[in-house]
């Protein structure tokens, strides 16, 4: 990987996907390149809306992203998606299987999907994700979505690199004891209960009850969705937009 970073950056700025893709690989494979790339693009950062989507395996994160991207594209927004799946602790190999849920966007020039393996990180994302998000930002994606490895409780690294964290749960996830435990529930900005057709009212009520008792300043919005049936996705999108407003407001107030 000896290509000149400046040349790749120029290529990526002119819309060459191969150049952007190569930069992402350099970020993943080599820390020195990652810092050089970050330095080079740092003046052009800060325009994109960065959304992290996390939750347990099989809760429907990828399918929700597929539908959300559909809405964003309908509004003319360009989207970068980074999907992280686990690397084998035994062999280092991985099956990166999130992209397959987003097939309808494969041919859309306004959507760039990149799969990444966690490569030994255990916080739900990989080391490279932060700079990769910056790359999508610098190259003009309006929205960047990061899907974490399927996690349960402790994987909160994502919250440090995005503006809004969406936690996706599914019915059957657990009782109120689970909701009392520390971790991702303390920091999620929005909670979606997907597969709501399996009965989500009880879980939604418990979340509101328990989080009201917690030290959080406010209870995050809880939205019921059925990604496969395209139900509740507009509501979820509006909530993501609301959160974006809050984020920018807080920034202005010097948070």
């Amino acid at each position: 990987m000896k290509q000149d970073i400046d040349k790749l950056i120029a290529g990526a700025l002119s819309g060459e996907e191969n150049s952007l893709s190569c930069l992402l690989a350099m970020v993943e494979n080599d820390d020195t390149s990652a810092s050089r790339i970050l330095n080079a693009i740092s003046p052009s950062l800060g325009k994109a809306y960065r959304i992290g989507i996390t939750g347990s395996p099989g809760s429907g994160k990828s399918t929700l992203i597929d539908k959300l991207v559909g809405i964003m594209r309908g509004k003319g927004l360009t989207v970068g998606v980074i999907c992280v799946d686990p690397s084998s602790p035994v062999t280092g190999g991985a099956v990166l299987g999130d992209r397959i849920r987003m097939e309808q966007h494969y041919s859309d020039d306004g959507v760039f999907i990149r799969s990444m393996a966690s490569r030994g990180s255990y916080g739900g994302i990989s080391k490279a994700v932060g700079v990769s998000v910056a790359l999508f930002d610098a190259f003009g994606k309006d929205v960047i979505i990061v899907e974490t490895v399927g996690i349960g409780q402790e994987g909160i690294d994502i919250t440090r690199i995005v503006d809004t964290t969406l936690l996706v749960l599914a019915p059957g996830w657990g009782d109120s004891m689970q909701l009392m435990k520390a971790g991702i529930l303390e920091v999620a900005d929005i909670i979606a209960i997907n597969k709501a057709d399996l009965g989500a009212d009880e879980l939604a009520d418990s979340i509101r009850d328990i989080l009201t008792l917690s030290s959080r300043k406010s209870v995050p919005p809880v939205i019921q969705t059925q990604a496969l049936n395209n139900i509740g996705i507009e509501d979820l999108y509006h909530e993501l937009e609301n959160q974006r407003g809050k984020h920018h407001h807080n920034e202005k107030n010097g948070r």
């Binding site: 893709s21 993943e28 494979n29 190999g93 299987g97 992209r99 097939e103 494969y106 041919s107 393996a117």
Partner: protein
């Protein structure tokens, strides 16, 4: 640096039989590779674009429908056109013996039919992918 080899397993055209593709995806995972799978019934354009976005070293094409003489050369041509001619293209599925040579002449580097083992395929990949930074 010892970066993992990245492989895209793709199924072009009208063929919904992906047990072999899935078996290979898991097998190559167990061989330490990062494997992406497109899903079934993909277009030439979508496969090539996925190769670009995922920065893969290897493209494994699986087809059992008989459409290989149509799809594989088209995919290889478009890879070249898009500046991705360096990707190692392998094929599997049901490829009659009489078609093997013409496919290889068109750029399919090796063909692994029924009876191939995961370790044969993995070893071939390791021998033929030169990590740019390793």
């Amino acid at each position: 640096m010892n970066r993992p080899i990245r492989v895209l397993i793709a199924k072009p055209g009208l063929d919904g039989h992906d047990r072999g593709a899935l078996t290979l995806a898991m097998g190559l995972r167990d061989e330490g590779m990062e494997v992406i799978y497109t899903g079934v019934r993909q277009t030439v354009e979508n496969i090539v674009r996925t190769c670009s976005q995922e920065y893969v070293d290897v493209l494994g094409l699986s087809l059992l429908s008989g459409g290989h003489n149509y799809y594989f050369p088209k995919i290889i041509d478009l890879l070249k056109e898009k500046g991705l001619g360096h990707i190692l293209v392998l094929a599997g599925g049901i490829i009659p013996n009489e078609d093997r040579e013409s496919l290889k002449a068109k750029g399919v580097k090796e063909i692994f039919g029924p009876g191939s083992t995961i370790s044969d395929i993995a070893n071939y990949i390791r021998e033929n992918v030169r990590g740019e930074d390793s």
